[in-house]
Subunit: 222 residues, 2 copies
C-alpha cells in the first residue's frame, strides 16, 4: 500500500511516515505544491494525506487537480484550520475524509484503513494510465471512455504493462507472467500479442504506449 503525504511540516510528516511504516504502508513525502504535483503525476497512491494549508499553493488546488485527473479517490484531508468552510469545500471536491489537527497517529491510521477498504470495495478496482482504464473486476478496458475488446492474453499483457508502467520489462518477465516459468526458447507469442495489442490500442486512438527497448524488452509509457 502506497501513501502520499502532502505536508509542509517536516517533523510531522516524518513522524507520520515512520508510524505508518510500522503498519506496512510505504510512504512518499511531498512538502510543497510542486513536489506534490510531481509525485501525483508519476505514481498512483492508495491514499493521499493532504494538508490544506500548504505554502506555495493552496492544498485545495491540489485536490481540484486530483479531481480533474480522476484520482481524487482516497484523499484524506488533514488541516489545522478546523473551519467548517474548509471541510465542506474539501469534501465537495471529492475528498473522502477530513481530520483536524492535532490528531493521534492511531486515529489517522484507522481512517486510512477505512478509506482504502472503501476504495477497494466499491468496484473501484480501476487501474488507470492517462486516458486508459482497466477495470479488473469487469475486465473492461476503455480508451477515452470508449470500451475496447481484448482477448484474454491481450488483456493480461496490457494489465501487466500498466501495472509496471514506465519500467523496462524483459521479454522473459512477460513470458513468465503470461505462461509460467517454463517458457524457454522463442518469444514469438509475445511478438504477435504485442502486435495485436498495439493494433487495438492504435485503432482506439492511443498508439505508441508500448515502446520497444532494443535488446532489453518493452516499456509502457507516454
Amino acid at each position: 500500500m502506497k501513501i502520499l503525504i502532502i505536508e509542509d511540516e517536516k517533523e510531522l510528516s516524518a513522524s507520520i511516515a515512520s508510524y505508518l511504516a510500522t503498519q506496512e504502508y510505504a510512504c512518499d513525502l511531498a512538502e510543497n505544491f510542486s513536489e506534490a504535483l510531481d509525485k501525483i503525476e508519476t505514481l498512483d497512491y492508495d491514499c493521499i494525506l493532504l494538508d490544506i494549508s500548504l505554502p506555495g499553493g493552496n492544498g485545495l488546488k491540489i485536490l481540484e487537480i486530483l479531481k480533474q485527473n480522476n484520482k481524487s479517490d482516497g484523499v484524506l484531508i488533514i488541516s489545522a484550520k478546523n473551519s467548517l468552510d474548509d471541510k465542506i469545500q474539501g469534501l465537495n471536491l471529492g475528498a473522502d475524509d477530513y481530520l483536524p489537527k492535532p490528531f493521534h497517529l492511531s486515529e489517522l491510521s484507522a481512517r486510512i484503513a477505512a478509506i482504502i477498504r472503501r476504495k477497494n470495495f466499491d468496484g473501484h478496482s480501476l487501474v488507470k494510465f492517462h486516458n486508459l482504464t482497466i477495470d479488473t473486476q469487469s475486465k473492461v478496458v476503455t480508451v477515452n471512455e470508449a470500451p475496447i475488446v481484448l482477448t484474454k492474453k491481450e488483456y493480461e499483457l496490457l494489465l501487466y504493462f500498466v501495472s509496471n508502467k514506465r519500467k523496462v520489462i524483459s521479454k522473459d518477465a512477460i513470458a513468465r507472467y503470461l505462461w509460467g516459468d517454463d517458457m524457454a526458447g522463442s518469444f514469438d507469442f509475445i511478438y504477435t500479442h504485442i502486435k495485436n495489442l498495439r493494433k487495438k490500442l492504435g485503432d482506439a486512438g492511443e498508439a505508441d504506449y508500448i515502446k520497444s527497448i532494443y535488446g532489453m524488452g518493452y516499456k509502457f509509457s507516454d
Copy 2:
C-alpha cells in the same frame, strides 16, 4: 548501510558512532570542513549527519556542496543552534530532517531509519553521479535531467563505470563484466563502445567523464 558523521565534538560523534554500530550502521567520522569534503568526494553514504556549527567552515556550506553534487538526499542536520533561521536554511538547501541538540540516540536512530527508508523508496533505485542519473528500473539515463538513449551494451558499460567510479578499471574487468569470462584476445569491442558512449555523453553536455589511464584501463571521474 554507511553513515557519515560530520561533527567536531569528538565525544559526541564517538558515542553516536558506537550506538549506531549496534544498529548495524557503519559510520565514518569527519571532524572538520576539509575532512568532510574529502569523505564526501570519495564515498557515497546512505545518510549524512551534519553538524551545522562546524569550525573551519560553516556546515551549511557543506550542504550546499552536497546539493550541487546531487548528494543532498539523506542529510540529517544536527545542531545546537536551534534557531528557526538555521532550520529553514537547512531544509531549503535540501536536508531531509533537522534534529536539535540535545537529542536521544534512539530518536536519532529512528530519524535515520526514516531517512533511509524514504531515500530508498522514492529514489526509484537511482544511481547518481553529479548531473548524471541512471534509473535502474526504467533503464533511463539522464544528463542534466535530459534523457539520453543508450544501447544495451552502452547502458551496461555506463552502469559499470558509475558503480566503480573513481576507480581504475582494467579492460579485462570490463570485458569479463560485459561478455563473460571467455573474452580472450582483442579489446576492439571495448574501444568502440567507449567511443560511442563518450560521444553520447558528450552530445548531452558531459564529456570527459571517462578517462583513459594508459596501459591500465579506464577511470570514471570528474
